[in-house]
Structures are given as C-alpha cells and as structure tokens.
C-alpha cells in the first residue's frame, strides 16, 4: 500500500488546520469569541454545524488516498487511487449490478431474456447482490426490510448513546451552548445512518445507476467534491482578496486606482463565460500534457483544483470591494491615527489594527459563498465546464441521469438522491451562514 497525497487532499487538510488554528486565534480575541458564542447558543446554528461536521468527516475520510500494492514479486501499485471512504464502503463499491435497479429491489429494472432455451421468456432477472441473501424465498422480502430497518434503528440509537456519553465533558465545559439541538440532530443522523447501513448490507438502498453502480456510494463520494469546491475556492481567493482589499483601502492613491481597475475589469466579464473560457483553456493544457499526471485520479484532481482557482478568480472581487470600503472607514478612526502617529509601520497597522476588525466581513463572506459554490458546481458540470467527467460529483451525477426521467417507466432515484443530498448540504450551509452573519454583523436586522 502506498499513500497518495493529492494536491486537493493536502489543501483540504491545510484548510482544516487553518480552521482549527483560526478557531484558537478567534477564541483569544474578545469580540470574535463573543460572536462565536452567539453562534453556539443558537439552536439552528448548532444543528446546522452538526450536519456540516458530518459532511466534513465523510469528506476527510474520502481525502485519505492510497494505491494498493499489486500481488507479485516486484514493487508495483495499482493505477486506481482509492480512499479510506472506499475501504469503509467496500461492499457498496464492489457489489455492482448489470444496470438500473430500483431502491431496495431484488429484481432488475429492465426485462431480459432469461435463459438460452427460451423456456423462461422475458422477465425481470434477479439481481446479483440486491436481496441475494434471501435466496428463492422472496415472500420474506418485506419482512426482511422491516427487520433490517428495526435493527438499523437500534444500532443508530446505540451509536448515538455512545456519542451522548462521550459528549458529556463537552456539555459540562460549555453549558451555555445549544447542545440539545446538536444532539437531536446527531440522533436523527445516527438513526438515518444506522438504517441505511443496515439495509445496505443486503440491498441497494438508493438503487443502482445505468452501469449498475450503487447510487448511495456515488452520493457519498460526491460530498467530497462539493465540499472541496465550496471551501478550496474560498481558501484560494481569500489571501488575494484580503490583501488587495486592505491595501486599496489603506494606501489609497494610485494603488487604490490600480486595484479598483483590476476588480472592476474582472467583475465586468460575465462570470460563467470567464469560467467557461478559463476551463476550456485549462482543458487544452491538461490534454496536451498527459505526461504531467501519473494516474487519472491526479488528472481529475488537477482539473478540480484548477476549477477552484478559476472560480476563486471570478469570485474574489465582491469581498475585495467590501474590505476596501471597510478599511477606508477604519483608516480614519482615532486608534489607527494614533498608531500612525506613534510611527507603527503600515504593514503592522494593517495586520494588527485593521485586519482583526474586518475579520467579521471575511467570516461572513466565507460562509455565504459556500452554498453558492456547491450549487454552482452542479450547474457548471452540467454545462460541461465543471469537474472532470470521471470525478464523482453531484453535477456529474445529475448530468448522467438527466435523461432518466424521460424513460418509461422512469428512473428517479439517481436524480432524487443527488438533489436531496445537495439540498441537505446547501440548506445546512445556508442556515449556518445566516446564524454566523447575524452573530458577526453589527448592523444585522433581526
């Protein structure tokens, strides 16, 4: 086994580290700590944060990549790059069917000529894996589902109880936070995950897609792509936006003019078209340099990162303008002038006196952008300028499934699964963003 650190993995881990470090830093600064406490005291905020955390855990598992060692004498590794999530979901990944099958089905979705002698005629063939443990005893199908459901609920409850007990010190340490909302959300999550996991032992819980892949597996793998796009884009654009915004506001003069010109120009190019143009160009670069990438996963990863960078370039202007405006205001305040009079250097004033006081704007921008970016990924992938077609994402799932509603009878589960998961992720992000904005924005209207 050989560990593979893709660029996006490294950046994602870096991002988590930055978030943790940022949390520690924020806890030392009075007004940021108070604002975060307000977020923690909100029921909606804690519930949404719990959901988001669950998504992040899945994405983190999916970011630990490795290549399997091939059997044999010499040192050789499989071309396929797998992740820790793939190991957890080995069953889901390997139990593929021939083609479509409905959720929890035991038979294929399409009729087939059953046996060569022609005795059986055309019928729905049994699935290779879905309900295979039942054998020929199909009468027990529904009872088996109910039994697995109850089992799953029990397991979920047990897991939740473990969490509840493990969380006791946390609740004692910070009794004023809205823990009840967090643990209720966690309970629902555990119950859902428990039933799904229990049912997934014998069935395809969300059905299978055209080539027989388990839809549940695809949706879980999509989470990482969505989260990466939503967060890495911000991470990539943040330094430039913050630095240029503060500089323009503080320095004024020709520096301000140049930076303003830069972002007005970028802003005036229609976003989708700029993304389209940049993605087209990037595709040419990637396609004409196949020697850069050892595996297809690396190529897909490069494309994902490039997409994040491109989205970042098109989306930093809004934050930059906001920061410039705020810095213009702060520059005139007494404490900044006092610092200037004492001979503190400009860079130090920016980092010590201005940056902490615009942090709330940055924080709000990060959380507000996230949901929009997740939604944008789906649309861009649909248009053909999103992630690599081999990368599993909500966009590629929807794109491959888009004609399925027109089938007769229709295949609804791939689309439904992608939309529901995306909805939950974006809703949690939106709710969390609202709470954060209310807590951090001094002018927020209640």
């Amino acid at each position: 086994m050989k560990f593979v650190l893709l660029w996006s993995d490294a950046l994602f881990f870096l991002l988590v580290a930055v978030a943790i470090a940022g949390g520690i830093w924020a806890s030392r600064i009075e007004h940021l700590r108070l604002s975060w406490r307000k977020v923690g005291q909100s029921n909606v905020g804690m519930a949404a944060a719990t959901l988001l955390l669950a998504f992040v855990v899945v994405a983190l598992l999916d970011s630990l990549h490795y290549r399997e060692r091939l059997p044999g004498e010499q040192e050789a590794y499989a071309v396929e790059v797998r992740s820790a999530l793939d190991v957890v979901l080995t069953g889901l990944r390997t139990r593929t069917e021939k083609t479509y099958s409905a959720p929890l089905a035991t038979h294929s979705f399409a009729k087939e000529t059953l046996d060569a002698e022609g005795a059986g005629g055309r019928d729905f063939p049994r699935l290779k894996h879905g309900g295979s443990h039942l054998g020929e005893n199909l009468v027990a199908h529904e009872a088996d589902i109910v039994r697995k459901l109850v089992q799953g609920l029990g397991i979920g409850l047990a897991v939740w109880l473990a969490f509840w007990l493990a969380g006791a010190p946390l609740r004692r340490a910070a009794p004023h936070l809205a823990w009840s909302a967090a643990f209720v959300t966690l309970l629902l999550l555990c119950l859902a995950a428990g039933t799904v996991a229990s049912l997934a032992q014998g069935y395809h819980v969300l059905g299978t897609d055209k080539v027989g892949q388990d839809v549940l597996y695809l949706t879980l793998k999509s989470i990482r792509t969505g989260l990466l796009i939503g967060t890495l884009t911000t991470l990539i654009m943040l330094p430039a936006a913050v630095f240029l915004g503060l500089l323009a506001g503080y320095a004024g003069g020709w520096i301000d003019d140049v930076i303003q010109y830069l972002y007005t120009t970028l802003n005036s190019i229609p976003g989708v078209l700029l993304i389209a143009a940049a993605v087209l160009m990037m595709q040419v670069v990637i396609d004409t340099h196949p020697e850069w990438f050892a595996t297809s996963a690396e190529r897909a990863d490069a494309r994902l990162l490039a997409l994040c960078a491109i989205l970042g370039i098109t989306s930093w202007t809004g934050l930059c303008r906001l920061l410039r405006g705020e810095t213009l205001k702060l520059r005139e305040l007494e404490y900044v002038q006092a610092a200037q009079a004492l001979g503190v250097s400009g860079l130090r004033i920016l980092s010590r006196h201005i940056l902490p006081n615009v942090m709330h704007i940055v924080m709000i921008a990060i959380v507000m952008d996230f949901s929009g970016l997740v939604l944008a990924e789906a649309v861009l992938s649909y248009v053909g300028i999103g992630v690599d077609p081999n990368t599993i994402s909500f966009g590629t799932m929807i794109n491959t499934a888009r004609m399925e509603l027109a089938r007769e009878p229709m295949v609804w589960w791939s689309l439904a699964a992608a939309f529901v998961f995306m909805f939950v992720l974006v809703l949690a992000a939106n709710l969390f963003a609202d709470v954060v904005r209310d807590a951090f924005d001094p002018r927020a209207v209640k």
Binding site: Y261, T264, T265, L266, N267, S268, I269, P270, V272, L273, L274, A276, A277, A278, L280, M281, Q283, V284, V285, D287, T288, S371, L375, A378, V379, Y382, V383, G384, I385, F394, I398, R402, L405, A406, M410, L415, F419, M422, F423, V426, L427, N430, L431, D434, V445
Partner: protein, 325 residues
C-alpha cells in the same frame, strides 16, 4: 448629466481594453494556436501540415502582437491581437468555426433570448418584491417566519432541480406544454411559458429574502415612525414610504442586469431548446469554438458596463436628491 455620462463612457474604455487583454491572454498566450489546433483535430496523430492548414483557415498563423515581416501599419494590424481582439471594438467578431458570421448569428438569436429573458426579469422582480412586501406586512409573525424558512429552503434547491422537475411535471405528467423547442411569433408563447415560470420560481427565494431585509432596514427609520404617527394606514406607509425609499438598493441589483438580458440564460435555453444566445454560447463551449466564446465575453462585458451606467441614471430618477456631476 450629459458630461458625466460622457466621462463615464471614457472610463469604460480602459475596462473594455482590460477585458480584451485578459481574454486574449487566456485564449492565445496560455495556449498557443498550435495547442488549439491539436485539440480541435484530435490530440494524437496529427500532422504538422494539418495544424498549419487549420491555423491559416482561421487566421491564427500570424504572430501574436507584432508582425516583423509586414510593412508599415501592417506590422501592428497583420497580427492575431489586431485581427481577433481589436476588431471587436468595431463589432467585427469574425467567423465561427463552422464558417458562419458571428455578428449575424447574434442578431438572429437575440430575439428568442429576449423573449424568455424579459418576462423572466419583469415577472421575477414583481413576484419577489410582492412576496417580500407581504412578508414585511406580516413581520414578526409566524407567517413571516414561515415565509423566510420557505425562502431559505427554495434557495437551497439546485436550479437544475427546478428545470428538470418542471419539465417532468408540467410537460411529461400533465402534458400542458411541449418539453422543449421554439417557434416564431405568437406561437412561441407555449414554448416560453414553462421556462419563464421555472426561472421565476428558481430565483424568487434568494431575491425575496434580500428585498425583505432591505424593507426591514427602511422600517426602522424615523420617517416611517413619523408617517405612522401621522395616522397613515399601514398599507400607505408600506407602498408610499418604504417601497419608494427602498428603491435605491433594489435598483442597484436590478438595473445592472437589464442590458445583459440580451445574452439570455445559458441553462434555461440549453434545457428548453430555445435558439437564443445562451444556447449559442453553450454549443460553442461544447464544440470548443473559441471565436464565439471570445465574442460573447466581449459583448457581455460591454453590456455590463452599459448596465452600470443605466444604474447611475436610474438613481437620479428614483431619488431626485442624487445628481450626477
């Protein structure tokens, strides 16, 4: 005001030049025309002659900025930069890869784009403002809360869902309108109605919530209290005072997109088979037709700048205190 507008137009020039340079850099410096030719003709097994022929056919065989072989003004004009980028200022967009004139194609496709985009804009604005006013009228009640929850839920749903779901429900299950397509004249209505409804629905969540915040902010101002203290009815306060004063932030967001309506919507047009500029752009992206994408980027930016100007003018109409100097 005229002097102001003229000055603003001159400010627009460097921005357009900047856009031009950025797109030029994107299309020609990141990738050489050789790369593009190889891409178009297939990456493997392509002869140098074929690449050369492809470049000559499209005028990509010239140097990028400076032609040392030409004489006089030709040094600057016989280049890719002049041929492909500078000429756009004269609205000469050249030809698409399939040999058609881009400018003519744009003229033809503007109609269908506008036929969808204008109703979407007008109805969307009307619906979002009405919904927001309704929420503000019932502010701080459960109705308001439910409305906000609805807004957040609606804006969390992917736009693709509205389109796919709408097509499935209205066209496939109810058989009310055709799934996609377009016709000239009045018969276009049956093709347009579904995309319009779908786009309005998809957009109403975020915009209604945004307008609600604006209205609520106005509500805390002193003049509203004064108006109420005078004994004016709540409805009168809402429509005459709050709506009128909230116009400026609403105009900021709304007017700037009016010129861009020409461009149509990429997604909607692609899904509903409307032969507008949006689907033209999508086709160009999928076919990797760089000439068309470049032209659309240029037009889009120019229209955005016009939109900014219109926004400024609309301010003076909405608020007589604002004078452009």
């Amino acid at each position: 005001m005229l002097a102001y507008l003229i000055r603003r137009l001159f400010y627009a020039l460097p921005i357009l030049i900047g856009v031009n340079v950025i797109t030029f850099a994107l299309f020609f410096i990141v990738n050489t025309p050789d790369d593009m030719a190889r891409m178009q003709l297939g990456v493997k097994r392509v002869t140098p002659e074929a690449i050369e022929k492809w470049k000559v056919e499209r005028g990509y065989d010239k140097p990028l900025f400076w032609n040392t072989e030409a004489s006089g003004a030709g040094k600057a004009t016989e280049t890719i930069f002049f041929g492909k980028s500078v000429k756009m200022f004269a609205l000469d967009f050249g030809r698409a890869d399939d040999g058609r004139d881009i400018a003519r194609e744009i003229k033809l496709r503007m109609g269908p784009s506008l036929a969808v985009a204008v109703p979407v804009f007008v109805l969307g604005l009307f619906a979002a403002i009405s919904f927001a006013l309704l929420l503000v009228y019932f502010r701080a009640t459960y109705l308001d809360f439910a409305g906000v929850v609805l807004c957040v839920a609606m804006m969390s749903i992917s736009g693709l869902f509205y389109i796919i779901g709408g097509q499935w429900l209205v066209s496939k299950v109810w058989h009310l309108v055709p799934i996609s397509g377009y016709a000239e004249g009045l018969s276009a209505a049956k093709f347009i109605i579904l995309p319009v409804i779908v786009s309005v629905l998809a957009g109403i969540g975020s915009s209604a919530r945004w307008y609600r915040t604006i209205f609520l902010e106005e509500y805390t101002k002193d003049y509203v209290r004064t108006a109420r203290a005078k004994g004016l009815s709540e409805r009168f306060v809402l429509f005459r005072h709050v709506l009128r004063n909230a116009l400026i932030p609403i105009l900021t967001g709304a007017v700037v997109v009016i010129p861009a309506l020409f461009m149509g919507s990429l997604l909607i047009e692609a899904f509903f088979g409307i032969p507008g500029l949006g689907s033209y752009t999508i086709d160009a992206i999928n076919a990797q037709d760089f000439a068309v994408v470049r032209a659309m980027v240029f037009i889009g930016s120019a229209l955005y700048i016009v939109g900014l100007l219109l926004t400024d003018i609309s301010y003076t109409l909405a608020d007589p205190r604002i004078r452009l100097q």
